[in-house]
Amino acid sequence: MKKIATIAAVAALTASSLTMAQSFQEAFDMNRAMYGAGATFEWNGKSYNTSYIEEELASKPANQANAQALFDAAKAKLAEVREAGFAWRDNVKYLKQAKEALEAGEYQKSMDLAARSHLQSRVGLEQAETAKNEWILAVPPLN
């Protein structure tokens, strides 16, 4: 009886800790939603900021080298998300506009557009990863 009670208690504790432990992504999303970009938060004893990687890349000095690097990164990311079959509708449009701005010497504009394209690709890849295990949960079960 005591053994069963111990098993039940540990099982309950383990199950609740599995569901209650906040992942880094959950902590990031919560702080991002509350404080926006550029804020800092603590997770597992370390400090992090709430900016997306694209916001950090687009805030580098607006020059040809940085704009070209961000454009190249966005282009590579788009190829990756297309391969996965999860590209978003307007992504390629932003990348084309980024290229036009880059060629016109409008570096900040180009970096902002390439960052937007990169963000869409990155989130599309996250969708693809989530879909791998979760699509089946939407299928009606046979009772």
């Binding site: 111990t6 079959g85 590209a87 509708r89 869409q120 699509w135 299928v139 009606p140």
Partner: protein, 286 residues
């Protein structure tokens, strides 16, 4: 030692219970069961719309929304696809330069066969849609293929559907290769994608007859029975792949080419879901 063993056992129980809650079947080739999927979809719709007989789902949204149905019945008094049917029949019977016609490429002279499409072609290891078969017939006989989405292809397809009205869909999944194509279509249907993070199922399963702005999405069951359709929004007749493209775009996804393998697999899955329902194409829709 005993405490450690007990703790480990308890953790295993907890881990197992987590897994059991998430366990589902039908996501892999070894577990997918098309017939179970078809019955489950019917059961889902029966549960959501208990007053709608399964046979009514060939009428799309008009099976479950009385107000839209009244308007649709009035439209159907003078069907907007009548002229398309006449043109489709003429095109169907048109002689190719070599003296043959579309009728020579199909079983039963191409009449009353809509219920067999899309079909699995085991030599080519691919799904062949009716529109694909029409265009391949033209190519094989030295004619130019039609455009894929509207115009002649939709008119000929409409005529062929019309000659099949009342026949029950009998889509066959003969082997594991075909089952893999079905599974690919099923996966596409239920997968969320695009900037709006929407799957086909979000609108046409859980979202059926629920307002999306001013529109009510149709039920997935019976989707492919009534195509091609004249849509009020289009102002002309179009194929189901034209609709797939539009839906895919509306989820803010980078949409695929019509008649791509993915869309053909989607049509294969969707039409299998309609097995047992009758062909009633062409149709008219909002």
């Amino acid at each position: 030692m005993k405490i450690i063993k007990t703790t480990l056992l308890a953790m295993s129980v907890a881990a197992l219970s987590q897994t059991a809650m998430a366990a589902k079947t039908g996501a892999t080739l070894s577990t997918v069961d098309p017939e179970a999927d078809r019955i489950a979809l019917q059961e889902y719709m029966k549960d959501r719309f208990p007053d709608t007989p399964v046979s009514e789902y060939v009428n799309g949204i008009y099976a479950v929304d009385a107000a839209s149905r009244a308007q649709w019945e009035e439209i159907e008094e003078f069907p907007p696809y009548e002229l398309d049917l006449e043109e489709g029949e003429e095109l169907f019977n048109e002689q190719f330069a070599n003296g043959k016609s579309l009728a020579d490429c199909f079983d039963n002279g191409g009449e009353g066969i809509r219920q067999n499409y899309p079909m699995w072609n085991d030599e080519r290891k691919t799904v062949v849609t009716l529109e694909m078969a029409i265009n391949e017939c033209r190519l094989q006989n030295g004619e130019k293929p039609y455009g894929w989405k509207k115009g002649p292809i939709a008119k000929v397809s409409a005529y062929m559907a019309y000659t099949s009205r009342g026949n029950e869909f009998v889509i066959d999944i003969p082997n594991d290769d075909a089952k893999a194509a079905y599974l690919d279509g099923k996966k596409f249907f239920y997968t969320k994608r695009g900037q709006l993070n929407l799957s086909c199922a979000d609108c046409h399963l859980t979202g059926t007859n629920r307002l999306v702005r001013a529109d009510r999405p149709s039920p997935a069951l019976g989707h492919s029975t009534h195509f091609p359709v004249v849509r009020s929004k289009w102002g002309n007749i179009g194929t189901i792949h034209r609709r797939y493209e539009g839906c895919h775009r509306d989820s803010r996804s980078e949409f695929l080419k019509v008649q791509s393998e993915t869309y053909r697999n989607l049509e294969y899955f969707q039409t299998y879901m309609s097995n047992g329902l009758v062909v009633n194409g062409p149709g008219s829709r909002k």
